[in-house]
Amino acid sequence: MSEYLLAFKAGRAFRNEGTNRVEPSPTKGAIILTNGDDGLLHFIWKNRSTNQIEEDLILFPTDASFVKVSQATSGRIYVLKFSSSNQRHFFWMQDASDERDAKFVENLNGLLQDPEYTLDWSSGATTSAQASTSQVPQATPEQLAQIQRIVQSMSGTTQPPAPELSLTDILTSDNLRPLFTSHPELIPALFPHLPPDLPIPPSTEVLERVIRSPQFRASVASFDQALRTGLLGGLVRGLGLPEEAGTSVEAFLRAIQEQADRGDSMETD
């Protein structure tokens, strides 16, 4: 058989038509990515009990992605989806520990994008550097809807562990006013994030007014809470950050700092 590019333990999961929930099937299995004899990239699911290949999908580079199903009750369900079709294949991670989940997924996605991708098992930040530009990527409505679902699904009865810090204490007027004064060149890049239908043109004053508003403060608080659920991997990828950035407030801030540092080093002055 052809060369294994990547393999890890994973079972399949199926959408229950009645409840529309994705439910993991207990069968032991593995996801294998190979360069087939035909020279094409194969995504294989093998039953580890019978050793039979039960799924063999031929993938074209950049067409497929493997992402976490954030709404799933168990946190380890993933979906293989395609940009060229509505086809969906669900899987769940079967490695005893979830520590390496993110790494498997990152490497798998690296290969799905580019079969020549060099696997990276280092524990630090991802090296699949997305060139950071001064242009801040905008979250799509789907991603925002996802945050909304996550925030709404959090029950008022379960208390999360005491947080170490909150975004609401970082994005305060007191912290941001000195920034605007000392770095006025960073201000224009923020204007595209203001509501599109403000009755007055964007300015530093408008920005400060928005930051003081209860609506902005409520958004920050919701985002902070959503980050604390640790389930925002998909969303932060859309912001050009590695998936780990969606696992906690701390990880998110670390990833932003790294992104900014890379951006700075690329800027010539």
């Binding site: 801040v136 979250a139 925002l144 945050i147 909304q148 925030v151 709404q152 959090m154 029950s155 008022g156 009865t157 208390q159 005491a162 947080p163 170490e164 810090l165 909150s166 204490d169 970082i170 994005l171 912290n175 941001l176 000195p178 920034l179 000392s182 770095h183 960073l186 201000i187 890049a189 923020l190 595209p192 994030h193 203001l194 509501p195 599109p196 239908d197 403000l198 009755p199 007055i200 007014r209 928005v210 930051i211 508003s213 609506q215 902005f216 409520a218 958004s219 920050v220 919701s222 985002f223 809470q225 912001l239 801030l253 932003i256 700092q257 992104q259 900014a260 540092d261 951006g263 700075d264």
Partner: protein, 325 residues
């Protein structure tokens, strides 16, 4: 997802004059809503013509068992006007507005509202409430001003007792009497007739509302009052033109000042409404990136940790749970 069924797709909106006024605009009604900070004659006179008062309150249940129930009025099962029951929690603000609008004689309105009013004529309050809350266009108008990531009280799965915490009650004149329209009550409540002279219905409404507030123990009630009134802009504009052509400059200057006041309020409402419709996650992210680029993210992060530590210690001292605020 029973929570979605309970809210019927109606999101929780802020109870703010700017939100109500935008809703009225969408309904094609030439009225606005203003905050009312006092019930004294002078404050009310400034807002004339005034069509209804909306008494909105958040009732803190544990401190009061049966207060607020003592009412001077008489339930009127034969009420011939417009009255709908509140069948969906989050729709209460919009329902209160419709209960008021439905009883203002010869009110100009958009075709959809006019149709809804004529369609529901003669229906019992419960059916009316159901028809209203199943009107897609109305739900869209209502939801248009709730933030994209709002956390609805319903969907947080809070314990039952807090479900009815927000409450909207309309007071308005109808056929010579002051009526109380409360979508959670079986019937409208008639609070008696009022003299046409002087302040008219407002005098009676003030007595009723003040008496009601007095039945709650101090601190058990957070409330605000909103006034449903004619949009003053066209009248002020006409007055100004008249005074200017008559050469009455000092009177004209006074109108100019009132117009400027109204207009700056509208600008503030437009500003706040656009903030309400927007998802600010992108801005939050952009600001964090800016802090990181400026090299101050590390510092503010450490400070934020300190703030959190102090906050948690204080809570522990007070013996409170780690509640979110």
């Amino acid at each position: 997802m029973s929570s979605v069924e309970e809210s019927g797709g109606w999101q929780l909106t802020e109870s703010d004059p700017g939100v109500f006024t935008e809703l009225l605009k969408r309904l094609g009604v030439p009225l606005i809503v203003d905050d009312l900070y006092s019930l004294d004659s002078e404050s009310l006179a400034l807002l004339q013509p005034l069509h209804a008062l909306i008494f909105l309150f958040k009732w803190i249940p544990e401190s009061s068992s049966n207060s607020g129930s003592a009412s001077s009025g008489v339930p009127d099962p034969e009420f011939p006007g417009f009255f709908a029951h509140q069948v969906v929690n989050n729709a209460c603000a919009t329902l209160a507005v419709l209960n008021a609008l439905g009883n203002i004689p010869s009110l100009e309105s958009g075709p959809e509202l006019a149709e809804l009013n004529s369609f529901t004529t003669g229906m019992d309050p419960q059916t009316r409430g159901l028809v209203i809350t199943s009107a897609d266009w109305l739900r869209e108008a209502h939801n248009a001003l709730s933030p994209p990531s709002a956390i609805s009280l319903d969907e947080l799965g809070l314990p039952k007792k807090s479900e009815d915490a927000y409450h909207f009650v309309v007071y308005l004149p109808f056929m010579g009497s002051v009526y109380e329209l409360d979508g959670l009550k079986q019937h409208p409540v008639n609070h008696g007739t009022y003299p046409e002279a002087g302040e008219g219905w407002l005098q009676r409404a003030r007595q009723v509302i003040e008496a009601r507030i007095a039945t709650y123990p101090p601190g058990a009630l957070e409330f605000s009052l909103l006034a449903l009134r004619d949009d003053p802009l066209p009248a002020l504009q006409a007055q100004l033109t008249q005074l200017q052509s008559a050469g009455l400059d000092s009177e004209a200057a006074e109108i100019v000042a009132r117009l400027a006041n109204e207009n700056s309020k509208r600008e503030r409402w437009a500003f706040e409404n656009s903030l309400r419709r927007h998802n600010h996650t992108g801005l939050a992210y952009g600001l964090l990136v800016a802090l990181a680029k400026a090299g101050t993210l590390g510092k503010v992060k450490d400070e934020a940790k300190q703030v959190m530590k102090t906050r948690l210690e204080k809570r522990r001292e007070r013996g409170e749970d780690m509640e979110e605020d």
